[in-house]
Each structure stands twice: as structure tokens, then as C-alpha cells.
């Protein structure tokens, strides 16, 4: 596929017109440097202004434009049209999420879950401001940096069949962010997060399908975060039982 035109099949959901989602087909111009989001923008600007979708930065950092492209969760701003050999290219809303309109999904569930793991630095006791910052060595930063790159695009949720089967599952990005703060040397909030992490719908729901890691556009590797979280939770529990004095650190 180089310069020319390409067929795009776009998922539509307009509850005031039809109770069920359906597809609309569009014929759009394409070139080697066009991404799927450009094609959607072309449709909105020149063919059908009623098409609804989210986007913002166009450079893979805002995490708004995640959609299913040919059945795979992708950031449409980073997905080039030239990748696809067969037509039409099928664009649908992120799977496993309720659809509000066309390609726009309801993020409420994700945002509520994110809040439950308290993804911020928790201190038992704050030190006075005049004592300065909480310093970290480069090694301490390295421990959690990878997991801090999450842009909340929800592609990992959409790749996770466990979340698809059980909407109560805490989900990859949320656990990865909880793990990120647990690994932070400045943080003292592990105990506050464990209540959400180590229950049935938390880390133990994960069956390590691993697709969250494959689709992650920022190489966060949520699957690794979840498994390491399992290992550290299990080790702590075991140590508390086996070790003298409850294995306190």
C-alpha cells in the first residue's frame, strides 16, 4: 500500500439511530506517512462529521487514541496505514469496554480502579520542607522507571481476556502502577495498596496471558509487574509465617 486510496471499515454506535453497533465503510486517500488517526481525521473533516473518537497529542504520549485496528489494540496515531496489506482496515472501539459512541469507550471503570491503588507517593511521616527533597540514587530510580512510563491508554485492558471475562479484575495498567509505587524507595504505602492487590480480583486473577505486555506502546511490561507483584506478595506472606518475629524488615 503506497500512495492511493484505501478502504476503511469503522465501527459505529449511535444509540439514537440504532440500538446495536454497526460498521460504516469509507474510501480514504492514503500515503506512506499516514497513520490510522490521519484517516479518521480525513473522514471527520471531509466525509462524515458525525464520527466520534478521542485523540489529542498525535505523538503517542497522551494515550487518548487507542482503538482496535484489525482486531489488535493500538494507538492509532502510531499505527501506519502502510502496515496493512489487506483491505478494508477495520477500526473498532477498544474491546471489553462499554461503548459510548462510535469509537469512544467509557473509561470510568479504569479510572475508578486506578484510584483504588493510590498511585502516588504515600509517606508514613512527611519530613519538613527545609530538610530538602527525598533523594534517590540512579539505581533506585531504575527499579521502578519502566513501570512509571504508563500513559493510561488502556490498550493492555483491551488485550486482556481476563478483564474481558471478569470486569471486576483490577487490570494490567492499574497493577503495574501500584507495583511502580511499591518499588519506589520514597514510598511507604505498600500496606495501603495490598488490600486491593492481593485479593481475588487483584493480582491472583491474572493467568499470565501476556498480551498486555505485547500491546503496550511504552514497553511498560504490565505482565512482568503483575507476576513480580505476585512473587513479592507470596514471599512476604511466607516470610511472615516462617521467619522468626514475622519477618519484619
Amino acid at each position: 500500500m503506497s500512495e492511493g486510496r484505501v478502504a476503511l471499515r469503522v465501527g459505529r454506535y449511535r444509540p439514537e439511530h440504532a440500538p446495536e453497533p454497526y460498521f460504516d465503510d469509507y474510501d480514504v486517500p492514503t500515503s506512506d506517512d499516514m497513520v490510522v488517526l490521519d484517516a479518521l481525521n480525513h473522514i471527520k473533516d471531509h466525509i462524515d462529521g458525525s464520527l466520534a473518537y478521542r485523540w489529542s497529542c498525535r505523538m503517542g504520549v497522551c494515550g487518548s487514541c487507542g482503538m482496535m485496528v484489525n482486531g489488535v489494540p493500538r494507538l492509532t496515531c502510531s499505527t501506519f496505514m502502510r502496515e496493512f496489506r489487506s483491505e478494508p482496515i477495520v477500526v473498532e472501539p477498544l474491546q471489553y469496554f462499554p461503548v459510548i459512541r462510535d469509537l469512544v469507550v467509557d473509561m470510568t471503570d479504569f479510572l475508578e480502579k486506578l484510584r483504588t491503588v493510590k498511585p502516588w507517593i504515600i509517606r508514613g511521616e512527611e519530613k519538613p520542607v527545609d530538610e530538602g527533597e527525598y533523594l534517590q540514587t540512579p539505581e533506585e530510580v531504575d527499579r521502578y522507571k519502566q513501570f512509571s512510563m504508563c500513559i493510561n491508554c488502556m490498550l493492555c485492558f483491551s488485550a486482556c481476556p481476563v478483564y474481558g471475562q471478569d470486569p471486576e479484575f483490577l487490570g494490567p495498567a492499574v497493577i503495574a502502577l501500584a507495583h511502580r509505587y511499591n518499588l519506589d524507595s520514597r514510598d511507604q504505602g505498600r500496606a495501603e495498596r495490598q488490600g486491593v492487590l492481593e485479593v481475588n480480583n487483584g493480582i491472583w486473577d491474572c493467568t499470565f496471558v501476556g498480551e498486555c505486555t505485547v500491546v503496550c506502546p511504552k514497553d511498560v511490561d504490565p505482565a512482568a509487574a503483575i507476576q513480580r507483584s505476585k512473587v513479592s506478595t507470596a514471599t512476604r506472606t511466607l516470610r511472615a509465617v516462617v521467619w522468626p518475629f514475622g519477618g519484619r524488615e
Binding site: Y13, P15, E20, P21, G71, V72, Q95, Y96, P98, V99, I100, D106, T108, D109, E112, K113, E139, P161, G164, Q165, P167, E168, T207, F208, V209, G210, E211, T213, V214, D221, A223, A224, Q227, R228, V231
Partner: protein
């Protein structure tokens, strides 16, 4: 969590098809990994039967060995071997994601972890084969 509060707008909640695990190649690979665990369980049962025969004396033990040599059982064992190799392979790959090994200030690369696991596996297999053939 999804259905707790009434929504201010209508939404369409898609149904997940029952055969979701057959729909994409990665999901099929995951299903294969999980399914091959059944063969690991079957092998464990055979091993327990073997130990039980061993504990019952010479006749039971030799009877069990004859059963193992039946063509159907050899065929089953071959299938179990292939399934276990696949299953073990997938877990070697996944372990590299789970276990971070630090040497000094750097993490050991994933490829090296997988290679080390494979190396240990081969060494142990060779030792077992040696013991089996020579003793």
C-alpha cells in the same frame, strides 16, 4: 464495578464470545500453554503409578514396565513428551519476565536468563540419561 452507578448516557456493553481463546493467534498460544499442563498432570499420575508399582515388588514393577512398552502407551508418552517440551519452553520464556536477576548494578538480560534455564535443563537431562543408561 462497571454496573454500580446508573449511567447518564446509554452504552453498548459488548459480549465476550465463548470461543474467545480461539479467535486470535496469541490467545490460541495461551490456550495451548494452559492445555499442555493437562499432559504434565497425566505424566505425574504415570509417575505415581510407577512408584506404586515399584513399592509392590518385582512382579508389579516388571508388569508396569511391560505396560509402558505397549504401542498405545508409547504413543501417549510421545505426545506427553512433546506437550511437556512445549509447556516447559513457554515457562522458560515467561520466567525471564518474572525473575529479575541483578549482577552488580545491572539486570541480567532476558535472553541470558532463558539460555541459563535451558542450559540447566540440558545438564540435568544429560545427568539423568547418564544414570539411566549406565546404572
Amino acid at each position: 464495578m462497571r454496573t454500580e452507578a446508573p449511567r447518564r448516557y446509554p452504552v453498548y456493553v459488548p459480549k465476550v464470545p465463548r470461543d474467545w481463546w480461539l479467535r486470535t493467534a496469541p490467545y490460541r498460544r495461551f490456550a495451548a500453554r494452559e492445555f499442555t499442563a493437562v499432559f504434565a498432570a497425566v505424566f505425574s499420575v504415570i509417575l505415581l503409578l510407577f512408584l506404586s508399582a515399584l513399592s509392590q515388588g518385582k512382579d508389579a514393577y516388571e508388569g508396569f514396565l511391560r505396560w509402558l512398552r505397549l504401542p498405545a502407551v508409547v504413543a501417549l508418552s510421545s505426545i506427553i513428551l512433546l506437550a511437556m517440551l512445549y509447556h516447559a519452553g513457554t515457562w522458560f520464556r515467561l520466567t525471564a519476565h518474572i525473575q529479575v536477576i541483578r549482577v552488580g548494578k545491572n539486570d541480567v538480560p532476558r535472553g541470558a536468563v532463558v539460555a541459563a534455564l535451558l542450559g540447566i535443563w540440558i545438564v540435568v537431562s544429560v545427568i539423568v540419561a547418564y544414570l539411566y543408561v549406565w546404572f
